[in-house]
Amino acid sequence: MNALFSGLTHFQALALFSLVVSATFAFLSKREAVERAKYFAWAFLAFLLVAIGIGWLMYPFSQ
């Protein structure tokens, strides 16, 4: 298991984190299956987009 997870790229680690946190939040905050699915999809995409956006904003400062 160590080899599987230690070899994750930055994006894969972000996707795993987003997936798990979004699923937990969806089950904590919504009661209906459809509402949960919508919330999960929205939160998952928002996690990815915001992280990638912040990454691009920080890119000029890394030079």
Binding site: M1, L4, S6
Partner: protein
């Protein structure tokens, strides 16, 4: 009439819970993620919470993330300790599960540290929910 029905339903829902059940579910949920909901017969939530919290904690350990100890003088390390402690049983099994030890010099180890702490915080949220359900304040 409709308002009366809603109020009756709410009162009936509240009366089904008890303080002992809430505390029991919270302690069980802290020790093993999802167990509190399992005791409250919420099978789906129990499975999802166990897989999410347990999966994130195991991923964090497998990525060789650090686990904070409780005797650090640094305030942020102490906050990390409380976050890690939220994983319950996974915190006490961390050294067994992570045979290679932490390696936070690499990015994956640093991510692992955050993932393990996040698993603890998520579990604390599920524990609060289990407590509320046990008390009958939430369906």
């Amino acid at each position: 009439m409709r308002t009366m029905d809603v109020n009756e339903a709410v009162n009936q829902e509240r009366s089904t819970g008890s303080s002992a059940l809430g505390i029991g579910a919270a302690v069980a949920g802290w020790a093993i993620p999802g167990l509190g909901h399992l005791l409250l017969r919420q099978w789906g939530k129990a499975l999802v919470y166990f897989l999410c919290v347990g999966g994130l904690a195991c991923a964090g350990l497998a990525m060789r993330g650090g686990v904070f100890g409780g005797n650090s003088p640094d305030m942020f390390d102490r906050l990390g300790f409380f976050a890690d402690l939220g994983t319950g049983g996974f915190y006490f099994l961390a050294h067994t599960l992570q045979s290679a030890g932490p390696d936070v010099a690499h990015a994956s180890g640093d991510y692992g540290t955050r993932m393990f702490a996040t698993a603890g915080m998520l579990n604390l949220l599920t524990v609060l929910e289990a407590y509320e359900i046990g008390r009958g304040r939430r369906a």
